[in-house]
């Protein structure tokens, strides 16, 4: 398998139902590159075009204008086998548990690898591997019907179904929507492990705290345009801009700003709980003198 390099969006625009009375511009002139090893968080208000953008990354939607280059190759070129490429760029949709259809968990996870034309042994080993990655017990759950599982488990089965293709890129559209805090932490932990294991991740998220915890880069979308892009530190210090596009900043950033307004001597770009804690402890030690 070739090593992943990058997905590059060049002046990407997308118009729904062009040329009719219902036409609406979903994306407008977006240029963005997902590099190898990135954890890119896509954030933006509801209806800003995040889901539309994500579907361009693996060719499910065709751009009205502009290009999508995967490892330098035009995804929508005539000679490209998009089905093959889609297997390298795994996309987990919102509420992916609604795509489960097989009789057993194992068969459902095997759907992707089967479509890749792998051997039976390879499929089996990938199913076991994927289930382990998402913390599902193979011996207990593999032969169960996916419809007997809990919501959180179903979602992990659906994610395993994409992971089993062992994609170089993993794109997740709000993977934690509608889960309880425990289920959410579990999914985020899985995504974090995968990223540390070398998978390039793109994640759509509404939770700035999750983004602060995980992302190496953040792209802010607003009304179909790319409003800002950079490291979480660069993005989260722009609190006015984030408020303007209807987003907040992580709780740690807000607290840091509130403390600074009261004259506490803190840097203006803290955004994770840990670094805020460290700075506060340092200050506490200075003040109390011990």
């Amino acid at each position: 398998m070739r090593k992943a390099m990058s997905i590059e969006l060049r002046h990407l625009s997308h118009v729904y139902a062009p040329g009719t009375a219902f036409s609406s511009v979903a994306l407008n002139d977006i240029s963005l590159t997902v590099h190898d090893g990135d954890f890119l968080a896509l954030v933006g208000h509801t209806g800003c075009g995040k889901s539309t953008l994500v579907q361009h990354l693996n060719g499910l939607l065709k751009p009205t204008d502009g290009q999508v280059l995967v490892d330098g190759e035009d995804l929508n070129g005539d000679k490209v086998d998009r089905r093959k490429l889609r297997m390298r760029i795994g996309l987990v949709f919102q509420y992916p548990e609604y795509q489960l259809f097989e009789e057993t968990v194992a068969k459902d996870i095997a759907f992707g690898p089967k479509n890749m034309g792998l051997s039976a042994e390879e499929i089996d080993s990938r199913v076991r591997w994927a289930m382990e990655k998402v913390h599902l017990n193979y011996d207990k759950l593999a032969e169960k019907s996916p419809f007997e599982l809990s919501g959180g488990q179903m979602r992990r089965v659906a994610i395993a179904g994409v992971l089993a293709m062992q994609p170089d890129y993993l794109i997740l559209d709000e993977p934690t929507a509608g889960l309880d805090p425990h289920g959410r932490d579990r999914i985020l932990g899985i995504v974090k492990d995968l990223h540390e294991g070398g998978t390039t991740v793109v994640m759509v998220s509404h939770s700035m705290d999750d983004v602060a915890q995980l992302a190496t880069r953040v792209a802010v979308l607003s009304h179909g345009t790319l409003k800002a892009e950079g490291t979480p530190r660069e993005i989260f210090r722009q609190r006015e801009m984030m408020a303007e596009v209807g987003l907040g900043v992580p709780a740690a950033s807000s607290l840091c700003a509130a403390l600074r307004a009261r004259g506490v001597d803190l840097p203006d770009d803290l955004y994770t709980r840990e670094e805020l804690k460290d700075h506060l402890l340092r200050l506490w030690k200075e003040v109390s003198g011990c």
Binding site: Y16, R86, F93, Y98, Q99, F101, F111, G112, N115
Partner: protein
């Protein structure tokens, strides 16, 4: 690929025809269909065509749109025409064309033209109804028209409620289909190539989740309706109370006049207006 599907063919403008009581419109559409079957001559069809044209003008529905509604029927129309043309061969009718085993008779041509026209006007009359009446109004009208049958325990209200709910969920299900299709394509599913059996098999990953979610939605909806004290049609009042107006009476009279004209034409010129070998 599943976008741009408009529900039914309702053409949303405001016109006297749109404002008519849906019950009246349904009855008048049925009357028009009866009229279409009463016609025996081409002149009679010209009369109906004129009437349909005038109503479409009054309804502010482009006549073109009305004719467009015939497009899905073009194969049935052609088939009807050809079958009647070639297979209506009474011995007492003279042959127009006679070549080896093919024989087209005057009666055959006559029959072919009339059957096709009947089909066309059937569709035009019902299109006039569906273009000017929203699906919700239609099911309301149906419920009220069928409600006398409640005496014999005919579930008029339930039927109308099912119809409105089904209509309401068509866009939702289409959206869902699109989404699941994409999700399975992201897992390498192939809906577009292969032979018939392979394609049918490829539909399983689409249909199973679709059915599961349709049942889930149905359960949720039933629960939500019960939570708001829905208990069927008995004693239920309506948001939109239908009232007959002068316009409804006028519309009724117009259609009655049309039918009378047709009957008059039929009795005065039983053979039609004869020109050469053909009667109009």
């Amino acid at each position: 690929m599943l976008k741009n599907i408009t529900l039914g063919q309702y053409y949303p403008v405001d016109s006297p025809v749109h404002r008519l009581d849906p019950r009246v419109k349904i009855l008048l559409a049925i009357a028009m269909i009866v009229a279409v079957f009463l016609v025996k001559t081409l002149a009679g069809y010209a009369l109906i065509l004129l009437f349909v044209f005038l109503v479409s003008k009054l309804a502010k529905v482009p006549f073109k749109l009305l004719v467009k509604g015939l497009k899905p029927l073009r194969f049935i129309l052609i088939l009807t025409f050809l079958l009647n043309l070639f297979f209506t061969n009474p011995a007492d009718s003279d042959a127009l064309v006679s070549w080896s085993f093919i024989r087209i008779s005057t009666a055959g041509l006559h029959q072919a033209i009339f059957f096709s026209l009947r089909l066309i006007f059937l569709v035009l009359a019902t299109s006039l109804l569906t273009l000017t009446t929203s699906p919700i109004q239609l099911s309301d009208g149906m419920e009220l028209l069928l409600s006398p049958l409640k005496v014999i325990h005919f579930p008029a209200h339930e039927l109308a409620m099912m119809m409105s709910i089904a209509l309401r969920f068509i866009p939702t299900l289409l959206e869902e289909t699109d989404k699941i299709m994409k999700a399975q394509m992201a897992r390498g599913a192939d809906f577009e190539s292969g032979n018939l059996i392979k394609r049918a098999k490829a539909m399983v990953p689409l249909l199973v989740p679709l059915f599961v979610s349709a049942f889930r939605r149905a359960g949720d909806l039933a629960m939500a309706m019960e939570a708001r004290c829905y208990h069927g049609g008995k004693g239920r009042t309506r948001l939109r109370v239908l009232k007959l107006t002068v316009d409804d009476a006028l519309a009724g009279m117009a259609v009655a006049a049309l039918i009378m004209l047709i009957i008059a034409e039929r009795t005065l010129f039983p053979g039609g207006i004869v020109i050469g070998r053909f009667s109009l």
